[in-house]
Symmetry: C2
Subunit: 464 residues, 2 copies
């Protein structure tokens, strides 16, 4: 007999028919007359109720079916008497696949996220993390579908690299050298004997290689892991995280802002349309304003605001008595997430696309405006998150780009392949980067970035 | 005026209307009466013909538009007189975005793939690599769509890991220690000072972590980069490659074979349906039997054959005079790609799912048959490729799994989190792994795996 997934069984109204469901026990209530087993197979946050007549089964066997056990049930699909579900299963045959000993770490309800982080391999079986990772899946699907439907090509940039995209990131080194031996023969590391014959690291961004794709295929996006060896133990930082980086030939600043807004609204709308049950659960358990926040982002036009206007608003807020933890130092300063959230949550009460930042606080590849001091950046600022997208038009002039690289004390020869896109048939182009986990934080309402990736990598922690 | 992508312009029959196309010059033929510019923007393998009246433009400017230059064209869409395209553009305005100097490495036609590999950042602009990477994109989309439609969740397993999935892979070490200093203070590497506080490496497979997902969410798939620090300089090996690894709770061997066959046929059919122009080009230029091979894979039922039957066929072939490069050593031997291809290409003339391999030549986590010497493996063997999918039912018994780990001289405590899936509510489950680049090799007809990933990582080579 073919198994029916619980997500399908719950909406099936073909009452009286035989059905086979399999899954893990979420709870088991016994009485003399009847046993109720709430069964979940990961296909939905909802459990199906399995109704067992205890007189038909061995008492010890029934007693052994505790929370976390895995069972196989054959029975009759019947109309549910309870609220909130159409159907339940009247059990006829019951097979135990795997019992669950009493030391099962996920047995109790209401355990803290901090506790559950220690059992990242088992927290996946809880309601909250099931919801989070089904939503994470849906966001990945929305991203691929959006770009595919808009003629972008998925482009796999390398993870191991000999270059440093931002010229500044703290990187993990990748090596096959024996660390017990490398330093012995003097300060010179024998890279000629390393796997790649030179020093290599894990990428901090696929953008530069993505531009190589965009200036050939027209429009590409990356979607893959990136790495930062920053010693930051905060709820916002991971050493290994996933990035989405579209790059588009022939795109200007206006079109880039349109793309950013349309894209992220599409993702949020997808969640609202496709993750109803999971969002409802998170709205109830994690953040009572979650669904309302998501809906408002989809509905509102994003504010488009220059950095200079933003600074003026923040300065006025200070004059009007608003206290910021990080001081507003005036034009030229880097905004913190606190400042970004003030603009979004308190001042405008909707998302903001901030543009035309000072060049000095942004990366070398961004296109400068005619004023010589601002650049065509287009960052999207979101409620609860702050910067969720960082974008810009890219500098397409070979000479200007080489000049900027030199001004910053970087070495143009290290970027020869990147500069070749400007040397041979250069084109205006633009792109942005979105941290996938920040999107998931926003869409799920979770507070800690370690709770929206299955197995977080952070300082001193690389379990599993 | 809004730009029209060339893929759309070529099928547009709205003749007489104004149109704006942008792209890179593939060729420029001049005569006194008329200039023809073949323009490509990466959206399709086909070029649009831009017809220029040289008397309307500056002669020097026109002369400077050489192969590889990037231009912006406004003109009238007119019906094409030539064969093979509906439309062309009668040029009215012409703007040069970027010229292309005479030393452009992709200027000549018919350059070898080996030569182009040295310019991986520019080969993307050629017909062949445009076709390959559009198809690669389409295969990624097909994979996500297939799994999403079938209720699998995309599950991101970690790249940096302290475990070794197969217990045998050669791994890249990941570190923030200063290699010039590590060996100086003696043989002890100070891992307490390393970023993660212990020795970490790049993953060779996401399967074990994937099983953690499957035994919670029911059905998951990974699709991400994996790494092997093997010193193999062959057309089949990469140090960094992409893998797809679905894992499914409650799946048995028969269902696993059905999934493998259905999945890979779906991908190949997707290419035939969605990549017609690119496949036609590759069929003409790379492999004249390409489309026919793809079509036959989609049409034929795969042969399902035990390893033991396979060995018998190979032994008979030897008795009948067939010469293999690698000898047939009888039951217990590992098959080479040559043997797999003989079964597929010469004996059965269709794909084979080979099952029930000797346990000794397969990984520790595979479920043993009752005979105690074979296991429930289900590898898919393909023409031209050999093994394209490696799958198996997973051992769900805690005791048997611990026994197998010990027998192989591995340390059960290193796998405690993996063993927990068998300790707490264990369930029968199965899964497979597909090397993404092997699929792309098959679907494109390309011969060298370095030509189906944008920036290949191989021994002594990590450019870009």
């Amino acid at each position: 007999m073919k198994r029916t997934k619980i997500v399908d069984a719950l909406v099936c109204t073909d009452f009286g028919k035989d059905i086979n469901v399999k899954g893990w026990v979420r709870s088991h209530r016994s009485s003399k007359a009847v046993d109720f087993i709430a069964l979940n197979d990961g296909s939905t946050i909802k459990n199906i109720q399995v109704v067992v007549d205890p007189t038909h089964f061995d008492e010890e066997m029934l007693k052994s079916i505790t929370t976390g056990a895995c069972i196989n049930v054959v029975g009759t699909l019947v109309e549910s008497q309870g609220a909130g579900q159409a159907s339940e299963v009247q059990c006829r045959e019951l097979e135990i696949y795997g019992l669950c000993p009493g030391d099962y770490p996920m047995q109790k309800k209401g355990q803290s996220f901090e506790y559950m982080r220690k059992y990242a391999h088992l927290r996946l079986r809880t309601n909250t993390f099931g919801a989070v990772f089904r939503i994470r899946h849906n966001m990945a699907i929305a991203i691929h579908k959006y770009f595919h439907d808009h003629g972008f090509y998925y482009f796999n940039t390398p993870l191991i690299t000999a270059s440093d995209a931002e010229g500044a990131g703290e990187m993990f080194q990748v090596t096959t050298l024996d660390l017990a031996r490398t330093g012995r023969e003097g300060a010179e590391v024998p890279y000629d004997r390393d796997f790649f014959g030179k020093k290599t690291s894990l990428t901090v961004s696929g953008q530069l290689e993505g531009e190589l794709g965009a200036t050939a295929l027209g429009a590409i996006y990356t979607f893959g892991p990136t790495f930062r060896a920053e010693n930051s133990n905060t709820p916002r930082h991971l050493a290994e995280f996933w990035m989405i980086e579209p790059e588009v030939a022939f795109m200007d600043k206006e079109e880039l802002m349109d793309l950013e807004e349309d894209f992220i609204k599409y993702c949020v709308r997808w969640a609202l349309d496709n993750c109803k049950d999971d969002l409802e659960f998170l709205n109830k358990m994690i953040d009572k304003s979650l669904v309302q926040t998501l809906e408002s982002v989809v509905k509102e036009d994003f504010v488009r605001l220059t950095y200079s206007e933003g600074i003026q608003i923040l300065e006025k807020a200070v004059r009007d008595g608003h206290k910021f933890e990080f001081p507003i130092k005036g034009w030229g300063m880097d905004l913190s997430s606190e400042h970004e959230r003030f603009l979004v949550e308190e001042y405008f009460k909707r998302p903001v696309i901030m543009t035309d930042y000072p060049s000095e606080i942004k990366a070398f590849y961004m296109k400068k405006n005619a004023d010589g001091k601002t650049m065509q950046g287009t960052d999207v600022l979101f409620p609860r998150i702050g910067e969720i997208i960082g974008g810009s038009v890219r500098e397409e002039s070979y000479d200007k780009l080489v000049g900027e690289i030199k001004t910053r004390g970087m070495e143009p020869s290290s970027y020869s392949w990147y500069l070749d896109t400007r040397k041979y048939g250069s084109c205006p182009h633009a792109g942005f980067g979105l941290g996938f986990e920040r999107l998931i934080l926003f869409v799920t309402g979770m507070q800690n970035i370690r709770d929206v990736i299955p197995f977080p990598r952070t300082p001193k922690s690389a379990e599993y």
